[in-house]
Symmetry: C2
Subunit: 194 residues, 2 copies
């Protein structure tokens, strides 16, 4: 192990494991971000996000956010964007966005270099989350489990080519309408039955 | 509301929402039942199960269990089996099994009649759980969330024809390798945005 911080997957999920509702709908799972007083993100968990050294997001997350973010400082830390095309560094609202077009390991190297030893937070889509999990690059999961069954949508964790992935629960915070479950990924040195 | 107990869906699930692994595998999700000391069912939650007035199970659960249960008293309460064919009452190991072949509402009527005002516990497969949820017959969910990502298998809650189903978290118990999340189904009197 090096001295760098943890790589943390940080994402909202319905109780039944969906990262979006049907047709990509985020209105229920992200309502906490838009003033829904019935679903409140724990300030402890938010503060950890803001304390992370760098954030990795997918291109779709970047595109979806670019306009609504405007010139606000949404990210007070460097952001690495997993892109399909090269693009120069973008500074917007005080945040530096670096676009990486050569895969998740490169993105993680950039993020670690920018994070200065602090945690790297991954906030991407299910496809991004699955890539990092399948590559064994995630140390911890910080899941915001919203109190709803969606019954349909985009699964956050399936399919995983690497599963099953054994976890250890390391923290649990109850907030209104959201249960924050934090897990450490158990790395198995030799293969053993789960 | 009548004076009868709650209808409680009582089931193990992986963190990513699967009720079984690939090919119906239950070895990980049910390891707590077979002496795995890393995954321990909370005694509080077990005691509630044993205190319920009647249990509804699916035919597959009955078939899978009939032989291993042997003559042990696995269920100290009446059990209603959702079957496709009529069959006489079976008394085995002190438990009375009643087979119902005319649907979930009939099964629930039998269970309520047998439960004497106490809770009715539904322990069936995903298909059984989904039927009860879609029919609006579930009052509470008691989920044993096992600390593992399976990444593939049989989803417990999808597809739901009735979703989204809004929930209210009413209890949370941390046990070794299992997080017990209990929710109440929020009944919406008139349709309103979630």
């Amino acid at each position: 192990m090096d001295s760098s911080g943890a790589v943390v997957l940080y994402v909202s999920m319905s109780l039944d494991g969906f990262a979006t509702g049907p047709r990509g709908d985020l209105s229920i799972l992200h309502s906490w971000a838009f003033g829904d007083t019935a679903r409140v993100m724990s300030p402890i968990v938010s503060a950890e996000f803001f304390a992370s050294g760098a954030v990795i997001i997918g291109k779709r997350t970047f595109d979806a956010g670019e306009e609504p973010w405007g010139d606000d400082e949404v990210f007070p830390m460097p952001v690495i964007v997993l892109a399909h095309e090269r693009r120069g560094i973008l500074v917007k609202g005080g945040t530096t966005f670096t676009f990486v077009d050569d895969g998740i390991e490169s993105a993680l190297r950039h993020a670690r270099a920018a994070a200065g030893g602090r945690d790297v937070t991954i906030m991407g889509s299910p496809a991004v989350a699955q890539q990092f999990l399948n590559a064994g690059l995630v140390d911890e999961l910080e899941l915001h489990v919203v109190s709803v069954l969606l019954g349909d949508g985009t699964p956050l964790f399936a399919p995983l080519t690497r599963g099953p992935i054994k976890l250890e629960r390391i923290r649990l915070i109850e907030s209104a309408g959201i249960t924050h479950l934090r897990y450490r990924v158990v790395r198995q040195v030799h293969s053993s039955p789960l």
